[in-house]
Symmetry: C2
């Protein structure tokens, strides 16, 4: 090993988090070009640098640590176990937790302003966290920047990618000129509107499966400012939901005492929809009718309604994620999902964990190529990001309609009781997805859906009655779940 | 009514098929530009002309009645009840039936060359037909051309569509120049690679959901020529299948004594796949090993294998199908499906039936606009084309794997017995899809899948035994099917 490489290795070793118990030498002189420095790209850059790669991280927007953020777009997010696992891998979990506000359950608001808390789990330690997107992104950029083998480049927007050469052309938004960068490989983490993915879509030399599915609803963000005494105007430790069948309002707390509220509303073909809410009068009429207790919390409602953009809600899936062993898509670029399971960021951070595990698995193999690694990663990961995409769409319906249904509420009550009484024996679908990062999303989907089907049918058919012992109820649910899984398996095993 | 319009109306009335019992006056002076004169476009042109519209039908290929067809691509197709209903609507069913060869069931060939016939139905009158794609297309073009209000234009390939103006630009493949046509509306029937659809995809002013999903397999056509005595080299009245798990060969008869064989094979990652079958020796080795009884029927196997193109197998879905009340997608342009249910053409012809019904429904309404009609058509039809797309992918697995499974064979045997003994009481999924055009594809999917799940589980769990009376078996299956549907409904009705 030439001395400069040794020196570099030692330097890197000194910089990396103490959470790491070993340092990887594999491919350490390889150059990785990461396109997109959002949450996924910056965590990935940090982790790849920790593994010893030379990383260039290119972002089209200005450095968000220096310039102000876009207003009105996904200000805060739900961070849960899968995401935390990714942050832990890169040694930044503790710092991230300092930015978090725990949310213990869904606080459901009915039309009369009554509220009740539906806990996320019967287990004490299972809750999700509200975290600021720019706050977390800044933390990750700071950590990545500390690495000597990470170069950050801002204000350069990717225009096109040469998939076979792992090179990309960028527009420089400052100079107005163009620049090209090349790596040994490109990792595309440029989000739902990924230009790297579009290069694959438009490349006609291989079959690229692709889907973009839009919901009939859009979203708009509104603010509940902090109270005059600096506190929170409503319960801090919950994710608030105002379910109204077709429409829904949700609110997540911020560290400064405010909440970010998101309205989910159809674009059209509904009494109240973005197409018809065109005057301040109609907006107020709609909110007063549907969300009376929320209106008083949002003093700037009308102004924000008309000033903030309306965002679309889409699911993007594609396959393959890699081309020529040179370019790989990760995060939202590979699998954008709707926000209703609070798993978008978590899934992207889990991508980094899974990719890291694949790199581990191949680090001991002599002839492992990027092509093999990329293919193995896709094979391992794709079924799980498909699963969370589908679960997130399911949850759209669950949140806006089902949370208000008596049958659904009975189910949740029963599940919370199971989890409190038998914490090692019962995990709801929500728990499987959110708090059990050792189970894959696809396993969580299969088991969770079977369980839901079993419980809902048992309650609907009167096979579980109030008077039964809780352990008896659990027995019946377990047996019925096995039955449901068995019936499905006969077909899938044909 | 001005006299020229009256004259034109009389002229049209004289031309249309006697199968029609009334003529529509609605919108008869409107101009409809149909892009794509394949099977769907030419039937649609015929029918719209019969309804009194002025139709311009533009096709990028030369007139296939004058020039030779592409070799090696979907030479014959399965025509069944839904397709026949569309042809009947336009008064051309009888002529089409003259081109048909009935296929009564699947002739399954095992590796030893043993065969057995698995009938499509226990009812005598339920069978599918093999028909030549160019033969049927020519018939439809002939019939459309007889209409005074249809103008056929060939050799003009659509380059782009102005969705808001219902105008399109075409490249003239003869002169090399460009030409634009405008209609009151455009109906895009330009197939799976639709340029009209691409204009919607690239149009950024509305949210366009879109998916293209490729199977891991491709297909290649090979010929079994007619026998030396002019007859058929194997059973004429069946769809032949050589199911081999991952791979499959099928064959459909042609009127001239030949069969068109289609090989379905993975592109890569398999012992035998398109990537590895690169020499005549390997091709022969593969066919001799997997399809020994077929090899002797295909004297030009190797030559055709290397000369004929390898086609991809994809599903395309999109939404909305229309834009601005000016442009509508129909047929494969709106919903391309894989060929494994033999329903691609049938679904496209059924599009014409459904569209015609929507036009009927709105013909009496004063203020009906194309926008209303297009939206109503999409709302009515989309769930059904989604259903047949999914059923066709299911059938890919059924044909290549399940037909060889003992459990599956027991199910088919039982279903055929039900259909023979209780023809008014039992319809298999295949029958519901193929022979029951009064049931929609989505209803057929729901009922058929529930029935399959019920039967497979009953057999696997030993709840149906050989010794039982057939009517007893039917009772059990019916009850279990209701149970399966009920269990699913609890969730969908939440």
């Amino acid at each position: 090993m030439p001395s400069s490489a040794v020196e570099r290795f030692i330097l890197i070793k000194m910089q990396v988090s103490t959470a790491l118990d070993h340092i990887y030498l594999l491919n350490k002189n390889q150059n990785i070009l990461i396109i997109g420095a959002g949450l996924c790209g910056s965590l990935l850059a940090l982790r790849m640098a920790q593994r010893g790669y030379a990383v260039k991280l290119v972002e089209k927007r200005p450095d968000l640590r220096k310039e102000e953020q876009d207003a009105g777009r996904s200000i805060n997010l739900a961070l849960s176990d899968r995401g935390l696992k990714g942050l832990r891998l890169a040694g930044v979990e503790e710092k991230a937790l300092q930015l978090c506000i725990p949310m213990l359950g869904r606080m459901i608001h009915d039309k009369e302003g009554n509220t009740f808390l539906s806990k996320y789990s019967g287990r004490e330690n299972e809750y999700i966290n509200s975290i600021s997107r720019p706050g977390l992104n800044m933390l990750l950029l700071d950590e990545a920047e500390k690495m000597p083998n990470v170069e950050l480049v801002f204000n350069k927007g990717c225009k096109s990618v040469d998939l076979q050469k792992a090179s990309a052309t960028f527009k420089d938004y400052v100079s107005g000129g163009e620049v090209s960068y090349e790596g040994d490989v490109i990792l595309g983490t440029d989000g739902a509107g990924s230009v790297v993915r579009k290069s694959m879509f438009n490349h006609k030399k291989f079959l690229f499966s692709f889907s973009q599915e839009w919901l009939t609803h859009g979203y708009k963000e509104i603010t509940i400012p902090k109270a005059e005494d600096g506190g929170y105007r409503t319960e801090k430790g919950a994710l608030h939901i105002w379910p109204r069948g077709e429409d829904m309002l949700i609110a997540l707390p911020n560290l400064d005492g405010s909440f970010t509220v998101t309205l989910f509303l159809p674009y059209s073909n509904s009494d109240y929809c973005f197409d018809t809410l065109t005057t301040p009068k109609m907006v107020m009429e709609y909110f007063k009718k549907e969300y009376p207790d929320a209106v008083s919390l949002m003093p700037n409602l009308v102004e924000e309604f008309f000033n903030n953009p309306t965002g679309p809600l889409g699911t993007i899936k594609c396959s393959p994620w890699s081309a020529y062993g040179k370019t790989l898509l990760m995060g939202d670029a590979a699998h954008a999902i709707v926000p209703f399971y609070g798993q978008g960021m978590n899934a992207s951070f889990e991508d980094v964990v899974v990719f890291d595990e694949v790199l581990d698995r191949f680090s001991s193999e002599e002839n492992s190529s990027w092509e093999t690694i990329f293919q193995e990663y896709g094979k391992t990961r794709k079924k799980d990001t498909d699963a969370i995409a589908d679960l997130a769409v399911d949850n759209f319906h669950e949140m806006k309609e089902h949370t208000a249904s008596p049958l659904f509420q009975q189910k949740r009550k029963l599940e919370t009781a199971f989890e409190a009484e038998f914490p090692q024996e019962y995990f709801s679908k929500y728990s499987l997805v959110t708090f059990n990062e050792d189970i894959t999303y696809s396993e969580a989907l299969k088991k969770g859906r079977a369980q839901d089907k079993a419980i809902l049918n048992l309650i609907a058919d009167g096979k579980i009655t109030e008077s039964m012992d809780l352990s008896k109820k659990l027995d019946i649910v377990k047996r019925e779940t096995i039955e449901v899984l068995h019936d499905d398996d006969v077909i899938s095993n044909l």
